[in-house]
Amino acid sequence: MDWFDKFPQMSRSGLREFKKSVDFAFTDFSRTYGEAIEGFFEPLLMFLVWFEKFFINTPWPIIVAGILFLAWIGSRSLMVVIGTFLSFMLIGYFGMWKDTMSTLAIILVATFLCISIGIPLGIAMSRSNKIQTAVIPILDIMQTIPSFVYLIPVVMLLGIGKVPGLIAVCIYAIPPIVRLTNLGIRLVDKDVLEAADSFGANYWQKLFGVQIPLALPTIFAGVNQTIMMALAMVVIASMIGVKGLGLPVLQAISNQYLALGLMNGLAIVILAIIFDRVTQKFGLRMQKYRNEGKD
């Protein structure tokens, strides 16, 4: 009755061999293809570096003016613009300008990447139940697996640096935009689609003329979530060499610098709030037609 009391597990040596073989296989893989993969991401790295330099090297008043302008375009709300202005003044005054710019750069690049991969993927999912069935479990894994676990293979392949950080951020941040694009398109009113059909709209006319425009508010909620999640990854990404507001937080944790941690943490929060308010207001304005019902 030994098997009843103790779970019949693999022998210790067998287990060790198994782990070893997986590790070796992956090490081999990264040795063989590591360089090629790194080469593949080279343009991304160059873009990211250029973007970060652009943010850091541009004189601060111009950056602030640009951000305020975008905040106004997005939200059309004076409150949001004033809030943004004060926030950036505070961040700069407390000496976090450069780190904030680095973080802003990586967040924007990550968001851009997530949108350009996530929206087409979400559209594909909405068109085909097979693709949806295949992709949903992958998204589930991406959202639930502890970030540190996928940091291991990413770092093994690409080493420490900006690109692995960016990839880690994207893995964590991309699911909402994919899910909500899919959902938004699937929720488009069947009657309206039938009307488009009855007038002889073809596949693409329906997709780009009816389904995507009507799904935009939902898609935009996905963009909003993606940005928020990317910001949440900043600290973890700093562990593998991404500069920005995450790094001081990391130092603060290991050295118990309360003020440093708090300041940088709050700066991340402020960025998140600004992004959130601006994108949410923008999303609301996109569905203006829904809110102007007469009776």
């Binding site: 009113d189 309206v192 019902g293 009776d295």
Partner: protein, 351 residues
């Protein structure tokens, strides 16, 4: 055989069965199995059962039935929003069911347009863009389609609302947009799926008048779905009645009131005000000799004839046709007989 010039659409032995195993269910239905039994035995829903229908060019064909009778399913076969299980649908000489996807899209763009019960307007497009939609997707230039759309917006009385979104309009106005959108493509056939059912009675009657006005001018072939008999009688040139996916009766509106085909139909018509819908020609005694009383037109309803006859009840009225020729007479006794409900098929009709 089907080339009689007046017939624009001809539906032949159309069957639709919803379910996985529709082909074998079709055999069961062709062997006489009914809707309930089919659902029980093969888990398929009988949508349409052997529908044969000729739709005349330039006329309003009403298709009536209670909900679930298959009327919306039938109309969606005409532009193939639903594919049939078996059967034929001819538009002129073309079997619509043989069209390729590309031809079908062309056909929908050019020959048929549709008005929906819940309007189905594009909420993100303005009134102008909605009305022009059918044209815009045909790659017609912006100027051209907006000019045309503008014309139809004006025609349905929505001048000045071009830049509004559908959500900002009332139900009646929204359906005017729906109507204008359908008319803007100049399609010969107009499919109207309970187009006015969602509107309140006053607006509905107003929309019916708009439709009749337009029809006087445009002479479209209109297939109009409704569950409302008054509406059917008001606008229909012919009325087909569906029940559980089968055609029960397809005839002239007067014929339906005077000679209901079965109990289901007489049940349908039992609540209508017969004096207000039955016309002189349906109850007159044919004759070419002038009678003693007044002379009235053949399409005058009994209510109005009663008004005239009440002055001198003993004098029969003379009926003339649209060309002024005397074709019959009506006596008081005919009037009373006409207003009485017919004892259809010897069954008792109870309210």
């Amino acid at each position: 055989m089907m080339n009689s010039k007046d017939i624009l659409i001809k539906v032949n032995e159309l069957y639709k069965i919803f379910g996985d195993d529709d082909k074998s269910a079709l055999n069961l239905v062709k062997n006489g199995m009914g809707k309930d039994e089919l659902l029980e035995k093969s888990n398929c829903v009988l949508g349409l059962n052997n529908i044969n229908l000729n739709i005349n060019r330039g006329k309003i064909q009403v298709v009536m039935g209670l909900s679930g009778s298959g009327k919306s399913t039938l109309i969606r076969h005409l532009n193939r929003l639903i594919e049939p299980t078996s059967g034929e649908i001819f538009f002129n000489d073309i079997n619509i069911l043989n069209l390729s996807q590309k031809e079908l899209i062309q056909f929908r763009q050019n020959n048929m347009s549709m008005v929906f019960q819940k309007f189905a307007l594009f909420p993100h497009k303005t009134v102008l863009q909605n009305v022009g939609y059918g044209l815009a997707i045909q790659n017609i230039s912006n100027d051209k389609w907006s000019e045309k759309a503008q014309k139809w917006i004006k025609r349905v009385g929505l001048d000045g609302y071009e830049t509004y979104y559908p959500g900002q309009l009332s139900g009646g106005m929204q359906q005017r947009v729906g109507l204008a959108r359908a008319l803007a493509t100049d399609a010969e056939i107009l499919l109207m799926d309970e187009a006015f059912s969602a509107l309140d009675p006053l607006i509905r009657s107003e929309m019916q008048n708009i439709l009749l006005d337009l029809q006087n001018e445009l002479h479209k072939t209109i297939i109009f779905i409704t569950h409302d008999l008054d509406e059917a009688l008001k606008i229909g040139d012919r009325i087909a009645i569906l029940r559980d996916g089968s055609m029960v009766q397809d005839s002239d509106p007067q014929e339906i009131i005077m000679n209901p085909a079965d109990e289901y139909v007489s049940d349908f018509i039992k609540d209508i005000n017969r004096a207000r819908v039955i016309q002189a020609k349906s109850i007159m005694t044919p004759t070419s000799i002038k009678s003693l009383g007044a002379t009235v037109k053949e399409d005058m309803v009994l209510e109005d004839i009663l008004q005239i006859m009440s002055d001198s009840p003993s004098k029969p009225v003379t009926i003339k046709n649209s060309k002024g020729k005397i074709i019959g007479k009506i006596e008081m006794v005919n009037l009373i007989e006409g207003m009485k409900r017919p004892k259809s098929l010897g069954t008792n009709i109870t309210g």
